[in-house]
């Protein structure tokens, strides 16, 4: 099987407009993934499926991942004038990494029995730019999994034959698997709550009457 670098070279040769990046994976046994931009995702998928050396005809797994907005803090050294003397002072710099949704495809080959090649596509942001090309015309097996990602994360797949909710009921509003989804409040009866459940259950506890304050008797 080719390494991700070789696949990237051949992809860039075949599809010049594609923007492909190889993402590192800190886990040694895991596979490094190819990050593809949304516009050329479909063409890349077709190339990977039909290429004679790769023949990735089996799309094993389609996963959605939610990366919410994250505030990154960095300590950087800045030259500042303190008490008339120029010194290097540590300053905390905060940057906001915008959030996005991501779809990860694990591809194997049943004919050549190799794999996996991990393909990733990212949306623009989590609010309105949530469109990605659907790879269902390339691999039929992705149909239900993409529907599930639409249902639970809110990624809209362009070109999907039948995009509607699959696991939640049709009148449901919202995308439950996102990290900022707030669950409905049915914590009235929690016999042994702890951590976040305790906080949610406390709202339903009956309001206790204020205990009488007995005056201290000084001996």
């Amino acid at each position: 099987m080719e390494t991700p670098e070789q696949i990237k070279l051949r992809l860039e040769a075949a599809l010049p407009t594609a923007k492909i990046e190889i993402l590192a994976n800190e886990c040694a046994a895991g596979e490094r993934s190819l990050l593809v931009d949304a516009a050329s995702g479909f063409a890349v998928a077709k190339f990977l499926r039909d290429d004679a050396q790769l023949k990735l005809d089996y799309c094993s797994n389609v996963t959605g991942v939610d990366w919410p907005d994250k505030e990154l803090t960095e300590k950087i050294k800045v030259k500042q004038v303190v008490d008339g003397v120029e010194k290097e002072v540590e300053e905390v710099k905060k940057t906001l990494r915008p959030g996005l949704l991501e779809v990860v495809y694990h591809l194997y080959s049943m004919e050549l029995k190799h794999g996996p090649v991990v393909l990733r596509m990212r949306t623009g942001n989590r609010a309105e730019q949530t469109h990605l090309p659907s790879l269902t015309p390339v691999w039929r097996g992705a149909e239900f999994q993409e529907r599930e990602i639409f249902d639970l994360y809110g990624v809209i797949f362009d070109g999907h034959p039948d995009l509607r909710r699959i696991l939640m009921w049709d009148e449901f509003v919202g995308f439950p698997m996102r990290r900022d989804y707030i669950e409905p409040d049915d914590f009235e009866y929690e016999p042994t709550p702890h951590d976040e459940v305790l906080d949610a259950a406390k709202k339903h506890y009956p309001v206790e009457a204020k205990a009488e304050v007995k005056p201290e008797v000084k001996a």
């Binding site: 696991l167 009921w169 449901f172 509003v173 919202g174 989804y181 669950e183 009866y189």
Partner: protein
């Protein structure tokens, strides 16, 4: 009532005496027909209870009817999700009186291991009156048999007349419960207030 000595004497002659209440309850208790309502893993233990090793047919509950119109007992076996809850209540409404509900497994009693979830109903007793609850995840088939026996005890002890007579002999009590509707994030209403009040716990 007739005392035991006289009863035994009469039995030796082949004459059996009983009261209408005992006879009526004996007939009902020993032929409880369950509805095939397995939702999740507990359904497999329910099936195992009806198979040859833990035979449930000995207790009269052999015939599992698929149609609610022909069943007396609904064994809610497995997690009730919010998507499934209106259908459970609708099926219960379709069953003719007298009808009983066994909540089998931790999920049907209170949501079980999947309690903290956006789609799991925390116990079917929020919408239906539960007669017997079986704890376990999943409860062993022997536990299900114990529950059926408990239900049979309950049926045998029901009085036919008087203010505490069962629901099917009391025309004033409604046997049908309102079916919840799908809301935006939860079912509407989230529970049936006439049926379920959160128990007050001393902390």
């Amino acid at each position: 009532m007739i005392e035991e000595g006289l009863k035994n004497e009469l039995q030796k002659q082949g004459v059996y005496v009983t009261s209408l209440q005992e006879l009526y309850n004996w007939g009902r208790a020993n032929s409880v027909w369950p509805l095939t309502f397995g939702l999740a893993c507990c359904a497999i233990e329910m099936m195992a209870a009806s198979m040859s090793r833990f035979d449930l047919a000995r207790f009269g509950a052999e015939v599992f009817r698929p149609s609610p119109r022909q069943a007396d007992l609904m064994i809610v076996a497995g997690t009730v999700t919010k998507k499934m809850a209106p259908l459970v209540v609708r099926l219960y409404n379709q069953m003719p009186e007298p009808k009983y509900v066994i909540a089998m497994g931790a999920c049907a009693i209170s949501g079980g291991p999947f309690k903290q979830g956006y789609n799991v109903l925390k116990g079917i007793d929020r919408y239906l009156p539960v007669d017997v609850a079986i704890p376990g995840c999943p409860p062993r088939p022997e536990a299900l048999i114990h529950a059926i026996m408990t239900l049979q005890e309950k049926i045998r002890n029901q009085k036919l007349t008087g203010p505490d007579r069962p629901r099917h002999l009391n025309a004033e009590i409604e046997g049908e419960y309102p079916v919840p509707a799908y809301g935006k994030h939860d079912l509407e209403p989230p529970n049936n207030p006439d049926l379920w009040q959160p128990p007050a716990i001393q902390r």
